[in-house]
Amino acid sequence: MHELSLVMNLLELCEAEASRGSFDRIDRIVLEVGELSGVSLPALRFSFDVAARGSVTESAVLEIREIPGRGWCLKCEETVPIREPLRECPACGSPVLLPTGGTEFRLCELVVRDRRMLEKSGKGER
């Protein structure tokens, strides 16, 4: 369950953004999570549901963009899909693969809502 610490790091980034920005709440958090990142998505969602309570992220939806694993096969000299790091190339069976994609674990975007903008649009609840 290292996902809980990952979520705490994520919330810290969100809080930091809230403290510098002019928004009141976050509606959507967009993450990129690679297939080879070692992050379990169900555990990540579970941890988020627990940890996001009582903060600017409370009502946010977590949108996860999954990035497929890719590796460079030294023998084929091309990029091939892989499910696990350092496993054999699906084309030639060579075991030497350098992961080139799918190790990401990034916060990409926040979709936020401002009180000022809500008032201006006349759709604000407050």
Partner: protein, 276 residues
């Protein structure tokens, strides 16, 4: 609560150790956790819609840990320390390995230990009995050590050039693999009472090991453990790492481990630094 920075991070100063010796560079809180930030925070491009706007962040979520780990690594190198991150499943013999290593090296090589466990200071107590400094970090619900905890624990130790600092991580083959602590080398223990295919089941932690120790080798005659199969599983996930089989009980293979440790310490430049 962390006294140095008031950061509220868990695990600091557990065991009542007072801060002495060297101070790590103050490593966190700048720029709200942004990579290379300071005033130059990441570029924010608001895309206004009716009530919502999108803020582009593009930040590595582990960026903060990685940045502190880099600071730790710089600090360790500048101070001539050789730092090992010792990883394994619970009960593979990390603390016993350390006890025997400390006894074998005696005064030829100064050592210090950071112990990570969910609860109790039992492991740190075992190390202190041998006259070696040890700081215990209790992570409570946490399943791994992070770079921030290590930075503070290292600040609680008196460290001199040439010291081998061993960080005994939480017994766990999954989570600690993701967290760089700033160590010089990673050593993973794999005891012969575990299955030969363990490296295939937990590839991430074995993949990044500089050295894998096949521990409890004295038990091999009593087990069906196939050493060749175990080593080929390891090679499958980590073709470059070294493997040493040893027993802390009988001392078999221990010479190889001590030679590795001392050679790597020298390679890390700690002895040169100590003489300078």
């Amino acid at each position: 609560m962390c006294v140095e920075c008031g950061c509220g991070a868990p695990g600091h100063g557990v065991g009542g150790e007072k801060r002495r010796g060297v101070a790590l560079p103050h490593h966190h809180h700048e720029g709200g956790g942004y990579e290379g930030s300071g005033p130059g925070a990441p570029s924010i491009v608001p895309e206004e819609s009716e009530v919502n706007r999108t803020i582009r962040i593009e930040q590595d979520i582990l960026g903060k840990n990685n940045r502190i780990a880099r600071d730790n690594r710089d600090f360790f190198r500048e101070h001539g320390l050789f730092v090992l991150n010792l990883l394994s499943a619970p009960g593979s013999g990390k603390t016993t390995l350390l006890e025997r290593t400390i006894s074998a090296l005696g005064t030829t090589c100064p050592m210090a230990v950071i112990e990570g466990d969910q609860e109790t200071s039992r492991d740190a107590d075992r190390i202190r009995k041998l006259g070696v400094q040890a700081v215990q970090i209790n992570t409570g619900a946490g399943c791994h050590l992070d770079a921030h905890q290590v930075a503070h624990a290292a600040g609680d130790l008196e460290l001199f050039p040439g010291t081998v600092l061993v960080i005994e991580n939480i017994g766990n083959l999954v989570c600690p693999a993701l967290f760089d602590l700033g160590e010089t080398a990673r050593v993973v223990l794999f005891s012969v009472t575990e299955g030969e295919d363990k490296p295939l089941k937990y590839p991430r932690i074995f993949r990044e090991a500089d050295l894998t120790l096949l521990t409890k080798s004295d038990l091999l005659p009593h087990l069906d453990f196939d050493r060749t199969r175990a080593e080929s599983s390891l090679r499958g996930v980590n073709p470059r790492g070294e493997i040493i089989a040893l027993s802390a009980r009988t001392g078999e293979g221990f010479g190889l481990w001590l030679s590795w440790l001392l050679a790597r310490r020298e390679k890390a430049g700690t002895l040169t630094h100590a003489r300078a």
